[in-house]
């Protein structure tokens, strides 16, 4: 390994970092004799960069040369940035050596498109194939599928990769066409469908034969850029909800738009990435996946955008005061899940421990319920004061969104006396 690899590595990492996904979960695999590596189903992060995002996989591009000119992408061909390409052996050695030092959990391989989709995809497949077959690498591999790649290549990639992904980037097709005239939704949904078919076929095969090859066992994911175009949260969440209907779709990522190409006037002029909106979208995404919410309960015609001030679960509860207060000792699990301040873990603990004794508010606190929020929505053995139905949603909202005072601080402002001269 030579010194100049450092420059390449930096350049290609810079180009790859805007991809959000970094999960290494979903596959459990033990090491094989003579091999290196394993994967844990729960996913392992190895470090955290200064922006607070985790580093789990070696997220890298094979090359950042690209024939496309998408307005939102830093690697568009009209950008004057430093370009580099990894040789297959270089990238393979880098992955193995980083892995041996426990820096990473595996490889996240992406690439700019050179020549055409299939040419690029074929080179990417060579990297993962060499890792898996020559080096017997059993760590995690996440591979991007290039939009427009052929079914054969997607299929071959799926045999080596744990997770595959194709990014939608822009939720609606007309906006995608505006920002990336060379792309359309078909080129995205097609490889998605190939991956889905591969996953379904392999699951069916494996029910018949235990040793049938696995195909992308951790499923697929995708990503949407938020705030680069004018879609409402309703449109975005409906897109994700319909994606989650697909059997192999595990995660939809939301990426707050960062103005990497601020000179392009098709893009909005923003100073700061919409981080709060991004956070609210993730919260809504969790409601869809773990809290048994339907998408039209979170956003509808009347409220097409998420409330930036309060989280979507609290927002739902305040729009439906008639559902509360909920009796902790009697209500069923799905209703307990809907109480603001109670997460999946505390809901499960509540349901299991209330068989032994009636729960009091002190017990709930110890279990981990955020009583500051939950108190307005529950009744337990003794606590019934000030619930949302006794008072009003507006009152609860005001209390919960009031600026917190630091301990010992008094934020009552002194009246200023202004003397006119």
């Amino acid at each position: 390994m030579k010194e100049e690899v450092l420059e390449k590595l930096k350049t290609l990492a810079e180009s790859a970092k805007y991809d959000v996904s970094c999960a290494s979960s979903g596959t459990t695999r033990k090491n094989t004799p003579g091999g290196i590596g394993s994967t844990a189903g729960w996913g392992i992060c190895h470090s955290f960069t200064e922006d607070g995002r985790c580093v789990s996989l070696l997220k890298i591009m094979l090359t950042n040369y690209c024939i496309f000119d998408c307005a939102y992408c830093i690697n568009r061909r009209s950008n004057d940035i430093r370009r580099a390409t990894f040789a297959v052996e270089e990238l393979v050695e880098l992955t193995i050596e980083f892995y041996r030092r426990n820096y990473i959990e595996g490889l996240f391989l992406s690439s700019g498109v050179i020549n055409n989709a299939d040419y690029t995809m074929e080179r990417m497949v060579r990297v993962v194939k060499e890792l898996r077959t020559v080096h017997k690498f059993n760590g995690y591999i996440h591979m991007k599928s290039i939009p427009g790649a052929s079914q054969q290549l997607v299929h071959e990639a799926g045999l080596y990769a744990d997770r595959m992904s194709v990014n939608i980037e822009i939720p609606t097709e007309e906006n995608l066409k505006m920002l990336a005239p060379e792309k359309d939704h078909e080129s995205v949904y097609k490889p998605m469908l190939y991956i889905q078919q591969g996953v379904l076929e392999s699951t069916e095969e494996r029910q018949k034969h235990r040793y049938a090859p696995r195909f992308a066992p951790a499923g697929q994911s995708t990503q949407m850029i938020i705030g680069a175009t004018n879609e409402s949260d309703k449109q975005i969440l409906q897109t994700s909800a319909s994606l989650y209907q697909r059997p192999s779709m595990k995660r939809v990522y939301y990426s707050g738009y960062i103005p990497v190409n601020s000179y392009d006037n098709r893009l909005p002029a923003v100073k700061q990435a919409p981080l709060v909106r991004e956070n609210r979208l993730y919260q809504a995404d969790w409601l869809l996946r773990f809290y048994e919410f339907k998408v039209d309960e979170i956003v509808d015609e009347k409220f097409p955008d998420l409330d930036l001030e309060i989280d979507p679960k609290l927002a739902w509860a305040l729009r439906h005061p008639e559902q509360f207060p909920v009796d902790i000792n009697k209500a069923d699990y799905s209703m307990i899940l809907r109480i603001p301040g109670i997460g999946v873990k505390s809901a499960q603990l509540i349901v299991t421990s209330r068989r032994f004794a009636r729960l009091r508010s002190a017990d709930l606190k110890k279990i981990g319920v955020v009583m500051k929020k939950a108190q307005y929505f529950i009744t337990c053995n003794e606590l019934t004061l000030n619930t949302v139905s006794d008072t009003s949603p507006e009152y609860v909202r005001r209390i919960l969104t009031e600026k917190k005072m630091g301990k010992g601080k008094d934020n009552r402002q002194q009246l200023s006396l202004v003397f006119d001269p």
Binding site: K10, A13, I36, C45, S47, D51, G52, N102, S353
Partner: protein, 253 residues
């Protein structure tokens, strides 16, 4: 107040449980053999650790408790927090004395405390799996110093043994001055005579393998480039990656 003295081993604790049931007196405090007793002691008893007694108690627990709950007991023991042994003692007593299983009764303070403590140790175990950083030494051994809050090294051995089966490694707990060495076949416990080999958590450059320095530089360079400047959030970083672990992280050195 009834006091039991024992040798502060897990076997000793189980023997203490056995003796307590045998004598029909249950301790309010568990102290080390030569630890100073508090005032007003009614009765003081010293437990002699015996493997067969400890085994009998463990077997009884195997009948009463699920596998995961028994793991919880060992996790809490490894937490090495003061009074964690008394908590384990109370938990075992409740397990034996009640007809109904207490495992799921999180309204009971001891049960909830056990769970929370075990979770704490488990979280650090995960962190160790994440934040161990190997440095390749000149003799091809991958060396990693750590200093966890809880004694969680025994919990992570299986993971590393499986994952890095084809490389020799040492994971060394600097705080407790012991570690484990894997020689491509088995893992053995070891103690280093001097810890001067790695001042500041870094292996001396003369002891490093020849390309080790380069890979460390590559990793640091990669780590730096991954940051998105527009999203800097140092508070979030420290929340996930507490500062006390930074000493041994290559990218933070």
């Amino acid at each position: 107040m009834i006091i039991f003295h024992y040798d502060k081993t897990f076997e000793g604790l189980l023997t203490a449980v056995f003796d307590a049931y045998n004598r029909k007196t249950f301790p309010d405090r568990l102290l080390e053999e030569d630890e100073l007793e508090p005032l007003f002691v009614d009765e003081s008893y010293t437990v002699l650790t015996q493997t067969d007694k400890a085994n009998r108690v463990w077997k009884a627990l195997e009948k009463k408790l699920q596998h995961t709950t028994r793991n919880m007991l060992t996790h809490v023991w490894l937490s090495e927090l003061p009074a964690s042994d008394e908590l384990i003692f109370r938990y075992i007593r409740k397990t034996f004395d009640r007809k109904q299983s207490i495992e799921m009764n999180f309204a009971d303070d001891d049960v909830l405390q056990m769970r929370n403590l075990a979770q704490k140790v488990d979280r650090e175990k995960c962190r160790m799996i994440e934040y161990v950083r190997f440095q390749k030494a000149a003799d091809d051994i991958f060396f990693a110093p750590v200093s966890p809050d809880h004694n969680c090294l025994p919990l992570i051995l299986e993971h590393f043994k499986d994952r890095f089966a084809d490389q020799k490694w040492i994971i060394y707990d600097v705080k407790r001055n012991y570690g484990y060495y894997y020689d491509l076949k088995t893992v053995t416990e070891m103690t280093l005579d001097s810890t001067n080999l790695f001042p500041e958590g870094k292996l001396d450059e003369e002891l490093m393998a020849k390309d080790e320095k380069l890979f460390q530089e590559l990793w640091k360079g990669y780590f730096k480039s991954m940051t998105i400047k527009e999203r800097i959030n140092l508070k979030l970083q420290r929340q996930h990656l507490p500062k006390r672990y930074w000493k041994y992280l290559t990218e933070k050195q």
